[in-house]
Symmetry: C2
Subunit: 410 residues, 2 copies
């Protein structure tokens, strides 16, 4: 199968409409915390608040989303003010005295937990960068650049972060070059930073050299520092949706570099390898974990279907199709799109459920918690709508729908 221009316009319209009339309205304006700033995002399927704590990752991601909507969809002041509320909360409450960020704080911003990672920081970078672009706030731009520098240091200077494991069997994860590549891409494409191009190239080389295994057609989640496979349970564990997220970060870079053929080839083969390993041929959907040699995975919930790998695979397949025209990707895109909107989307209350059993039934009804909030789904709908606009020349939701004065309040 292939997509006609009309199909692609329809897809763009669908993603725009979902984003602006289903996903974003589930979260906003009700999640804005008028008393303490930031967002109250831990919500059940019907929007009921389950917990008024604040997850620092998700505070940053939500601020990023609102600023990005302002920058790319419509400069609505509610979106800008909403983004500012998150930025202020992050700056005021989410940094420890050592300059590192917390992972989990109370509604008032008191610390609950800090982790031995720097993902809170990477999401604060993209939030500050998008907000700086939206507002022209130079302090936010400075903050984004300064924090990005710290992330690079945390990733590269030994001993800056307390290690979780002893040094007996050193390992590195694909997550670090992936998140830093994407953070650099966002920084570059909002406020610019001369460090980004070189670093992105370096992260891509690391992924290609150490994590992508052509001989066994696989993208590893974890390897030894020299790129060799660690034949123990953790070292064998694959995360197909995560690897495919890495694939589309690389395909995005290919597009940014005027369709760089080597990067298209690299991103597409990462997608090919992990689609083959990750797609559940019996029930549909993307498995969470697999073992590289098909042995049992330590994580007992390994065959569940999570929302976010589906968001990433929807982006990757559509991007691969637009870059190559290969019909296989249109077919895969339709498969994963249909599975996801049939099974994850809550037609009654909007947004997606997060967690399905292998058979596609809902395992847990929360829409927001410490790990899920307004990020992967709206990013997917936003990215795909933007992509379809570029590819077809047909504009974003507001141009192609008659929204009849229905304002998207936040």
């Amino acid at each position: 199968m292939s997509y006609t221009k009309n199909d692609l316009e329809k897809l763009g319209a669908f993603y725009s409409q979902q984003l602006l009339e289903d996903t974003v309205p589930f979260w906003f304006p009700r999640s804005l915390d008028p008393e303490h700033g930031g967002y109250l995002l831990m919500r059940d399927h019907d929007g009921t608040l389950l917990d008024d704590d604040k997850a620092v990752w998700i505070q940053g991601r939500a601020a990023w989303l609102l600023a990005t909507l302002y920058n790319t969809v419509e400069p609505g002041k509610e979106w800008l003010e909403g983004a500012k509320s998150g930025i202020d909360f992050l700056n005021k409450y989410c940094f420890d005295t050592d300059g590192r960020m917390f992972f989990h704080v109370t509604r008032l911003g008191e610390p609950i937990r800090k982790r031995r990672y720097f993902f809170s920081e990477t999401f604060a970078v993209i939030a500050n960068a998008a907000y700086a672009k939206a507002s022209g706030d130079q302090a936010a731009a400075e903050k984004a650049r300064e924090l990005f520098g710290k992330c690079i240091d945390y990733a590269t200077v030994p001993g800056l972060l307390e290690p979780k494991f002893a040094s007996t069997r050193p390992a590195k994860g694909i997550g670090v070059p992936m998140i830093l590549m994407n953070t650099a891409q966002q920084l570059r494409e909002t406020i610019g930073d001369p460090r980004c191009d070189g670093l992105i190239e370096q992260f891509i080389r690391e992924i290609e050299t150490d994590f992508v295994k052509d001989d066994i057609q696989c993208v590893m989640e974890q390897v030894a520092p020299d790129g060799s496979i660690i034949d123990h349970i953790d070292g064998r564990t694959l995360n197909p949706g995560h690897a495919i997220e890495g694939a589309w970060f690389i395909l995005h870079e290919a597009k940014y570099r005027n369709n760089d053929p080597h990067l298209i080839e690299l991103g597409c083969k990462m997608l090919d390898y992990m689609w083959e390993r990750g797609w559940d041929k019996e029930f549909g959907g993307i498995f969470y974990f697999r073992d590289v040699y098909d042995r049992p995975v330590q994580e007992y919930w390994q065959d569940m279907k999570f929302w976010w790998p589906h968001n990433e695979v929807i982006i990757a397949t559509l991007l691969a199709y637009t870059l190559t025209g290969n019909e296989k990707y249109a077919k895969w895109h339709q498969m994963v799109h249909d599975y996801a909107y049939d099974h994850f989307h809550d037609k009654k209350n909007g947004e997606w459920f997060g967690y399905l059993h292998r058979d596609g039934s809902v395992a847990q009804t929360a829409k927001g918690n410490l790990f899920k909030g307004p990020f992967h789904l709206p990013r997917q709908e936003w990215y795909c709508a933007q992509l379809m606009k570029e590819v077809t020349g047909t504009g974003f939701a507001r141009d192609i729908f008659e929204i009849e004065n229905k304002s998207i309040e936040i």
Copy 2:
């Protein structure tokens, strides 16, 4: 329904036979590591070794099992030698220079991971204590007592262990008084220790006062230091199988104290509350997590069925029945017994699968990994066989079966 003496004899025979002809032979002798000592326990359903790493909890638990079989079933020298191999490995490789134990080491005993808990230590206590009883080794007895003292210190002296959470919202888990109570019971009933009776009493009082909530008929997994419920996602999360494990530790104490009526009442009501919350009325089996107010649980795999809660509920219901004669407990025992041996037991290769989907289908085939090994299942079969022997006056497997010279080699 009620169990006749003949029914109880049959149950005892069943558990003995499962233990000695199905569960123990799955693990031994093949898991003994002749080169480096200790045990190679990370095995797939058919016994294939998945990983040669060694989980420190499980090394201690396996040594405990072998020494306990020697002490209570038959003084076979293979069991004693097998226990010694684990004890030696623990002593030689599993302690860090600060006296704390690792969580995960390589086959050769090199450290991979140390955690901010002291469960490795509690299992080393019961292993050393059982081995000291079996062998008369005074050094092992000393080690058990010294380590037990350290565990009490870790649990009670603030600052000895690095906290995982900030002090904003202090919480305590039922796991600590539970594991220390059971460790003290084992120590007392193998080599004796004058500290045990007082500590056991103190742990039971803490559980009764702070974790058992009669007004809402619930046993909390976590509470504030004053015993109040923390109305956030983590604080609301219940672990019915774990609470029921606590119930049988208390029922065991009731039996030890000549059927102390108050402890029988306490243990039975903990079982009653958590059976009601934990038993899956649609598919059978015990849910892993529930929310105290029936809201969504953060852990998406919350409705899976794990092997070990079923082991604990099998013990608790049988013990409650023998202590009270209440037919409800015979009925529950039969329900959980039938569910477990129908769904978890691997009739082909022996032992149990560890992880089922909510509907009872197998989610993952490993019999051993970082968290599962020869402990909950053989302990259940051993404890229930012992209990039936006491109650009926009819002896253990070797007395009531004709094993026809089939030796249980290890």
